[in-house]
């Protein structure tokens, strides 16, 4: 195989001298530049993406969407649309067997909060309230335009800082202060390691910064979608662009109240994902359409939907404060973080925990403190994207490191080397670091860029001089009970105080910390808001609610020790 270098300095080299003693094996296939198994299909146009499956009589599904950030649905009039050419069926929320879901319910993480097709209220611009199934895509679009919805616009909130202020409109009634509930106990995830306040007083410099990560579209060239069709023997086949076949299958089984054995999912050849194809919206909708019409149905986003209705990488706001000594040692780091989850939870609750486990970045810092919030706003729900939970905070940390370097007058690479974590060091999540290589990466880049390092920093290694004092837990960690919530089950991240496992069973509304007195009456034990829709009726004994639904994790999995 020829190894012609790329044009214009796009070189690659393998620095085999690093950690060579940790790679003694002689391997045969591993390490070879073998061509991709799928490359011939790609260059001949034969790789089978989900939309490359043709069906005679394929129908097309398109959604009616909210033009408001928040509104009550007074009435949906489908009569004109039903009579339009090619229209086979109008789908409403009442057609969805279990019209409430949260994606991570398969992991017992979070309360079902999002309707498949909303029936009473919308919480973001673009939220679907009805779907048309028609013979052609154009006919479906025409019929969508003919459906009349009477909206009653409601107050909305778009900004995370406004959303958590007293008096802000509640996006979701189950989270009255617009904050996800962690462990059934707090309205944020805490990280407490040592005593940052004392360390700030001892530091030579305190450096503060505020960072905003923008919302970003995954933008795979293939848009999200699924085609479902009746298969044989009462089964349904679904060709899908999902990034997670069994996640989508499990979600469809739950929402459609159907055993997984009646679902046949085919995918695996996907035109880019980057996190935007995990939300499992299209699969249940396409299968439902096929069930209601008895015909193959395609539900596929166009590019505009992909960009504005498809969940983006959410915005994040970070406030970082460092205590640093004159010689560059960072002795304390404090974070306040807000993940903008949009109108529903999707995966943001999980990203917060992942992010907290990542703090304070790849550095050994003896005092760390973080409060990280998953905040609901009337925006398109956020979801995963490449680097989920990490990219935004790494932007904040590394932009902040540059300010710290300037404050102490150090070369920015040297500041990183001085504070870099090494094998054996204690991390803020209270586990010992191993298999580190940050120091070596910094040294290689410095060498390539001609940045001269101080000899003692050029001589550092991840494998040396870690542990010891650096492995010790702080003698004292300051904790607090700020942000207590009530009414959620105590053993999980966020579960209503329901007598049974099933969130469909009616339960008293949960309560988050009281709003400031200025907001009016204290919210503790407040009655349900007058505009709150009645809880859905409990399931009849004849149809146990869990029938057919997959679960990837037992409830005890998230129970505390």
């Amino acid at each position: 195989m020829t190894e012609t270098p790329m044009i214009g300095g796009n070189m690659i080299d393998f620095r085999k001298e690093f950690f060579a003693d940790e790679r003694p094996e002689k391997l045969n296939e591993i390490g070879k530049p073998t061509r991709r198994q799928d490359i011939t299909g790609h260059v001949t146009g034969r790789s089978p993406f989900y939309d490359d499956h043709l069906f005679e009589g394929l129908l097309h599904m398109r959604c009616v969407r909210s033009p408001h950030h928040a509104a009550r649905i007074r009435r949906i009039d489908t009569s004109a649309a039903e009579r339009m050419p090619g229209v086979q069926r109008i789908v409403l929320g009442r057609d969805v067997p279990r019209n409430l879901n949260t994606l991570l319910s398969l992991l017992d993480f979070g309360i079902d909060d999002e309707p498949i097709l909303s029936t009473d209220r919308v919480r973001y611009k673009g939220e679907p309230v009805a779907a048309v199934i028609a013979a052609t895509d154009a006919q479906a679009r025409d019929a969508v335009a003919a459906i009349r919805v009477e909206w009653e616009p409601l107050p909305h909130v778009l900004d995370v800082e406004a959303a958590i202020k007293p008096g802000a409109p509640a996006v979701l009634d189950i989270y009255p202060n617009n904050k996800f509930a962690y462990h059934g106990k707090y309205d944020h995830q805490k990280l407490r390691y040592g005593d940052v306040e004392t360390a700030f007083r001892q530091a030579d410099h305190v450096v503060e910064g505020r960072y905003q990560m923008s919302p970003i579209e995954q933008a795979p060239v293939e848009t999200c979608g699924a085609i479902a069709a009746p298969e044989q023997n009462g089964r349904w086949v679904c060709y899908t662009s999902t990034q997670a076949l069994f996640f989508s299958l499990g979600t469809a089984a739950k929402v459609l109240e159907m055993p997984s054995s009646r679902l046949h999912f085919i995918g695996g050849t996907v035109g880019g994902g980057f996190g935007g194809k995990v939300d499992s919206i299209h699969e249940p909708m396409a299968i439902l359409g096929a069930m209601l019409t008895g015909r193959p149905v395609k539900f596929m986003w166009d590019r505009e939907e992909e960009m504005q209705v498809g969940a983006p990488r959410g915005a994040e706001l970070w406030i970082v404060k460092d205590g640093v000594m004159r010689d560059g040692r960072i002795i304390a780091r404090q974070f306040t973080g807000y993940f903008d989850s949009g109108a529903y939870t999707r995966l943001s609750s999980y990203a917060v925990i992942k992010c907290v486990g990542h703090l304070p970045g790849p550095y050994t810092i003896p005092n760390v403190h973080a409060n990280v919030y998953c905040v609901f706003t009337n925006r398109t729900p956020a979801t995963a994207m490449r680097g989920f939970g990490i990219t935004g905070v790494d932007f904040a940390i590394e932009a902040h490191m540059d300010k710290v370097a300037e404050a102490v007058g150090m070369n920015p690479i040297e500041l990183r080397l001085l504070n870099a974590y090494r094998d054996g060091d204690m991390k803020a999540h209270r586990r010992i670091a191993k298999n580190c290589a940050l120091i070596e990466c910094c040294q290689v880049v410095a060498e390539k860029a001609g940045v001269k390092l101080a000899p003692h920093l050029a001589a550092l290694a991840s494998t040396r001089d870690g542990g010891g004092d650096r492995a010790r837990l702080p003698a004292h960690t300051v904790t607090d009970e700020n942000g207590r919530v009530q009414g959620y089950q105590p053993w999980s991240y966020a579960r209503k105080n329901a007598p049974a496992r099933d969130p469909f069973v009616g339960a008293p509304p949960p309560v988050q910390p009281p709003r400031a007195p200025a907001a009016g009456t204290p919210a503790v034990n407040a009655p349900p808001r007058a505009d709150q829709p009645p809880p859905p009726p409990p399931p009849s004994p004849a149809s146990p609610p869990r029938q057919g639904a997959l679960r990837f994790s037992s409830l005890s999995g998230f129970r505390r020790r």
Partner: protein, 157 residues
């Protein structure tokens, strides 16, 4: 809905199929004719995934009416290979110039159109030729390198 016959050649083979009012060439080729190599990426002419050649010139099939193919010579990525792969296909394989592969058919046809009219393009000319084709995976450099490999004779069929 009125159906209209369209006769044309697809990758050298005579074809005839009916088109519906307002149907675009992309939908026509994929669903009415069965050539799935042009891809839908946006339907707005913004991504180039549907690029095919019409009488030798690259067109965005999603913005072209199917009726416009009447009497035309249409070429798609599915017809790029003869008995052997086209040099561009070889070069894309060699350069690891595809990841998800969804933009690849359109990218190949944009490159094919360039090399047909200018067999020895410069790097800038390659960039210009594929600037209407979006790739979200590769960062473009391997694609540019693959096309230049063919242009500069490093890859032959």
């Amino acid at each position: 809905m009125a159906l209209k016959p369209v006769t044309f050649t697809l990758n050298g083979n005579a074809k005839a199929a009916f088109t519906e009012d307002g149907q675009n060439l992309l939908d026509f080729l994929r669903r009415s004719v069965g050539d799935l190599s042009p891809k839908y990426g946006c339907g707005q002419g913004g991504c180039g995934a549907c690029t095919v050649l019409m009488d030798g010139a690259p067109v965005l099939a999603c913005l072209t009416l199917a009726e416009a193919a009447q009497g035309a010579r249409i070429e798609t990525a599915a017809g790029l290979a003869g008995a052997a792969l086209h040099p561009l296909q070889e070069a894309f394989m060699e350069r690891f110039a595809a990841q998800c592969g969804y933009c690849t058919p359109g990218m190949l046809m944009a490159a094919r159109a360039l090399l047909d009219r200018n067999p020895r393009p410069s790097r800038d000319e390659v960039i210009e030729a594929i600037s209407g084709n979006i790739c979200r995976c590769t960062g473009y450099e391997p694609i540019i390198a693959a096309i230049l490999d063919v242009a500069e004779g490093r890859v032959r069929a």
